[in-house]
Amino acid sequence: MKKKGVFSRFLYSQKVAPYVFVLPFVLTFLIFFAYPVISTIYMSFCKVSGGETVFIGLKNYKTLTNPVFIKALKNSMFYMVVTCAIMIPIPMILATMLNSRHMKGKGFYRSVMFIPALTSVVVAGIVFRLMFGEVSGSFMNQILGLFGHDPLVWLRRPFTVWIVLFALCIWRWTGVNMMYYLSGLQQIPKDLYESADIDGAGRFQQFRYITLPLLKPTTIYVLTISIFGGLAMFTESYLIFNGNNSPNNVGTTIVGYLYRVGLQQNNIGIGSAIGVVLLIIVLLLNVIQLALNGTFKKGE
């Protein structure tokens, strides 16, 4: 048994090797995840300024009861809920349509729909910001003009701002989500539909009783990424409003507020408290989701 050769030392033993393999992760985890998480929780109870850290109890959290943070919370939640509501059904239906037996040139359309995902959110944000400009010559105002509508100040009104943000989200992510559903659809056995055809089930019934349930794993995945993507939204708003200050905070999100308070105004303590609130929300959502999935599984 000369399998380890002369160089076999501690490191090379089969017992230790697995730990060496996972070591990069363990180190990254401890240094760049666990430590910051603990540190942010600790700092959220402190006043941090000029290198000094003083324990001040819950004061930072009390500061967060201000209307702007509440608004940022609402904005992020609203964005998350609506993106989930839009970005699941639409791509699912599009994928089913594209996957139809009668469709020609699937690959081409699939690729074209995917292109927006390739553009960086910065470029996309710049284009959308200018497309939805408030001057009467901007593309969207020209379209409104075709319908005899006056130009809109898109980016400074509470309602239209959301149209712009959702338009951007739909544009960038429909293709990707559709792709998830397309690959989900590939895994549904064809003969299920064939036997359904024989049984005389209509197109809608087939969708309702075969496609929808069998796409559930995909839906859960898409839902998960939409939830966390939506909650952590920042860059889109930063680009659309050309900086972190949207008029009347119409587009301020939790992360945007964290960035503003923690980094721009240098209140690390309050910023950390915002981080902790976000952490708690995320953990809660995770627990809810795990619980739901778990019970569903038992039910089936």
Partner: protein, 455 residues
């Protein structure tokens, strides 16, 4: 073909990964060395003509135009002070991030430049944590020659001054004379805000154009009106104070102008947006009240208006009030971490307060000189080649001379930075666009409660 490119790429990755599996460390260090040498050749840095044996100074600014100013001033300095020459390196960057990075460097206590341009909206944060050095000793020699309210503005309650500005920043009203003539209104006859509103109604009726505009994401018009009432956004000891009666009156007054149709919300939301410049250049608005440093925006962005803009005094609340206040600005300061304290301070004062510096600032940058001796120098005030004097129909120095040097400057201490960020992000949007029906005082109280300020 595709496959082949890919496999070549993959082979590369493979071989590299094999190599680095054995010696990961060496791979890391070598690429690090590369990256740092690659970034040595900074592109947006400016330097003066190198002087052997000169002391190195570093300076950060957020405005590219200032690079030329500092490097040229350094050349002049070296000529005049051969015994203590300097070599200055000026670095520019985007405003928000540059200020933020400066704050970080200050907190860390390292990586700061010797001197930095700090915009008025950010100044409070630097002053409050004592990151700046007092410059009283180098300013005092110039004390009788400059408008001190502009210097004292960057100071604290103990009489320390920390910053020097590029300009006086006196506010004036720019009138589009084409529109005013069409309406038959002489701007010189406007003294009070009530006169201004009456004139505005005539302009609106005759030309259909609004008399003025207000920003929803910046604060120049309301701040001007507040300063005329000698009211500040922060109290003397630096606490936020936006929920006061004067402020509510100002908001109600502007709202009244909007309701009358003589005031519009600036396209783009503020007076530095490209949308606004387009609107202004197309003659979309009859007048705008801004500081004199805004002249440069006219010459740079509104070519069509050359020879059509008259500069007049700002309207005031009561006849007899001083028709000039100071607004905006950039306080250039010496950071306390510098190792060249004396030299940095002297050079700073020289740039900003000397005759040479102020002349450059006026001639090239279009900044109204902080130095009063220039106001009476015909070579300056009547210079036929000056592009600003050529552009405007009236002479800005007349206003400066008339109103003297006892001017109200904004109080930018304490909570000003935090207050400013709330004012420009929510307060004025709410007041003029979103919640126009809400009682002004009530609105201001809500806004005040969102200001996060810790001493």
């Amino acid at each position: 073909m595709k496959k082949r490119i890919l496999s070549v790429l993959l082979c590369l990755v493979m071989t590299m990964s094999l190599m680095s599996a054995c010696s990961k460390k060496s791979a890391d260090t070598s690429s690090e060395g590369e990256s740092s040498s690659g970034t040595e050749a900074g592109m947006t840095q400016g330097k003066n003509n190198h002087v052997d044996g000169g002391t190195d100074l570093s300076l950060w600014t957020f405005q590219e135009l200032h690079v030329g100013f500092y490097t040229e001033m350094a050349d002049v300095w070296n000529e005049k002070n051969p015994d203590k020459p300097i070599n200055i390196t000026v670095t520019t960057g985007e405003s928000h991030s540059l200020h933020q990075k400066l704050l970080v460097a200050c907190q860390a206590g390292e990586g700061t430049p010797d001197i930095a341009d700090i915009e008025v909206g950010y100044y409070g944060s630097f002053m409050k944590d004592n990151y700046l050095l007092p410059i009283n000793d180098v300013v005092e020699p110039y004390e009788d020659e400059v408008v001190m309210s502009r210097v004292e503005m960057y100071g604290d309650n103990e009489g320390n001054w920390y910053g020097a500005d590029f300009h006086l920043g006196a506010s004036v009203t720019y009138y589009n004379m084409d529109i005013m003539n069409e309406a038959g209104v002489d701007p010189a006859s406007i003294v009070t805000w009530d006169d201004y509103v009456e004139a505005g109604k005539v302009v609106k009726e005759k030309t259909g154009k609004p008399m003025c505009a207000v920003e929803s994401t910046d604060l120049f018009l309301p701040q001007l009106m507040m300063l005329e009432k000698k009211t500040q956004y922060v109290t003397d000891d630096g606490q936020p104070n936006i929920a006061n009666d004067d402020h509510a009156e100002v908001i109600d007054y502007i709202r009244m102008m909007i309701d009358e149709g003589i005031c519009e919300i600036a396209p783009g939301g503020f007076f530095h947006a490209e949308e606004w410049y387009g609107h202004l250049n197309d003659g979309g608005v009859a007048s705008i009240s801004m500081p004199l440093w805004y002249m440069g925006r006219f010459t740079d962005y509104c070519g069509d208006l050359e020879g059509k803009i008259g500069i007049y005094e700002i309207p005031v609340w009561n006849e007899g009030d001083t028709r000039e206040v100071l607004q905006g600005g950039t306080g250039t300061s010496v950071l306390k971490f510098t190792e060249q304290e004396d030299l940095a301070k002297e050079f700073l004062a020289f740039c900003k307060l000397s005759e040479e510096g102020c002349t450059y600032e006026w001639e090239v940058l279009g900044f109204d000189p902080i130095r009063t001796s220039l106001w009476d120098d015909p070579a300056i005030t009547e210079n036929p080649d000056n592009k600003y004097l050529k552009y405007f129909t009236t002479n800005p120095f007349d206003i400066l001379k008339k109103n003297g040097t006892d001017l109200t400057a904004p109080n930018i201490s304490g909570a000003y930075s935090a207050t400013y960020s709330v004012l420009v992000s929510t307060t004025y949007t709410n007041a003029f666009e979103n919640a126009t029906d809400q009682d002004a005082k009530e609105l201001l109280e809500t806004e005040q409660s969102t200001i996060i300020y810790e001493e």
